[in-house]
Subunit: 200 residues, 2 copies
DNA sequence: CGACAAACGAAACGCTGTGTAGCGTTTCAT
DNA sequence: ATGAAACGCTACACAGCGTTTCGTTTGTCG
């Protein structure tokens, strides 16, 4: 049931989103221009402005449409192993082209709170929820301390990922890094009391 | 021993850096313009271009010159307490005006690697080193496990700070947050083996 | 088939910011 | 005094944004 008039060209839409994602990959959002998108996509600027309010919104939609932001939903017997699977997936995605685009979007959000909120609601929060679920499960089956503060653990795990993505201390695909990170978060820094054996 | 010619006006230099920092605070780097700096500082655009190659470099220098980036260097008997002091100091600085400017700078760095490197070398690395020193001390005096991986702990502690600053899950000045964060990083997530008392 | 509605592309506008150049002025060392 | 170098000011060419105008195309409905 569509009224009269020429229907929207899905071909133009796709070409625009493709071109936008490519340009974000290549230049980041700093040098991302609507004119550039129009040129590469073979559409007119008018067409873009008809459907998107501005560069922020276009960039966000290009990211959501193209990037592999979906995270695996493992559900094995071991919460620790599931944690590993999820975080590895995110790290891999961040290490590639998607990562650069994400970095652009997030940082652009600094001066464009609505855009940041969309990213938060559509990407960050679902992922955090997934981690929360896994950790809660781990608490129930005794893998984790019952008094563990879930939010804090989630934040620590995520924090390092985003920090490596944005500040680039060290590469996201450094071998062995994620294992060390997870293990240490789980085991803590304090010395184990000397009883029986060492813990683990 | 200065050659001939009119010496550089420190007054102009200071006015430019002051104005730049103010404008970064107010608008972020997205809307940070050389023209704006010139107008507010009462100098000419040409003067700015004479001394800085572009907005990124100017913003960085304004940040380094103005922000209270100095972190306290506590050295009490307790490494844990020193850790707390340092991280609290950074959190407070990030929660204020400096935080917004830092976010802007990191953003600029995404497409301007030299700028990011300067920030890394001048700000990030010294702070990380300070944390490393404290943790090493804690290892030596038995507060921490001897096999603790220092880098991983530093990254986890820093990560949450930058993530709150940039992604804004939650406010940096949330009461009690930093204590929970530190405690849990130190104590880990795994259940303590049941011997004598609980650890800590 | 014809009328209409809506999307499309091309071109241009005013605006803002960039980065450079020229010019006269000011301040210092020699 | 002279010259070097920094200063402020004005002007300019250029790029990108966001918007508007206009003519064209593509569909639906009567």
């Amino acid at each position: 049931m569509r009224g009269p008039g020429r229907p929207r060209s899905d071909q133009a839409r796709d070409a625009i989103l493709d071109a936008a994602f490519q340009l974000l990959e290549e230049n980041g959002l700093e040098r991302f221009t609507i004119e550039g998108v129009a040129a590469r996509s073979g559409t007119a600027k008018t067409t873009i402005y008809r459907w998107w309010p501005g560069k922020g919104a276009l960039a966000m939609e290009a990211l959501l449409a193209h990037a592999e932001l979906t995270v695996p939903i493992p559900h094995t017997a071991s919460a620790v192993s599931d944690l590993r699977t999820v975080l590895d997936g995110i790290a891999r995605s961040f290490a590639g082209a998607t990562g650069r685009v994400v970095a652009s979007i997030v940082l652009a959000g600094q001066n464009d709170p609505p855009t940041l909120k969309v990213y938060h609601d559509k990407v960050v929060e679902p992922r955090r929820q997934r981690l929360r679920d896994i950790i809660e499960r781990g608490k129930r089956n005794g893998e984790f301390r019952p008094d563990l503060h879930v939010e804090t653990l989630v934040e620590a795990m995520y924090g390092a990922l985003y920090t490596r993505l944005l500040i680039r201390f060290s590469p996201l695909d450094e071998p062995g890094w994620m294992d060390r990170h997870i293990n240490q978060l789980l085991e803590g820094a304090l010395p184990r009391p000397l009883c029986g054996q060492g813990a683990k």
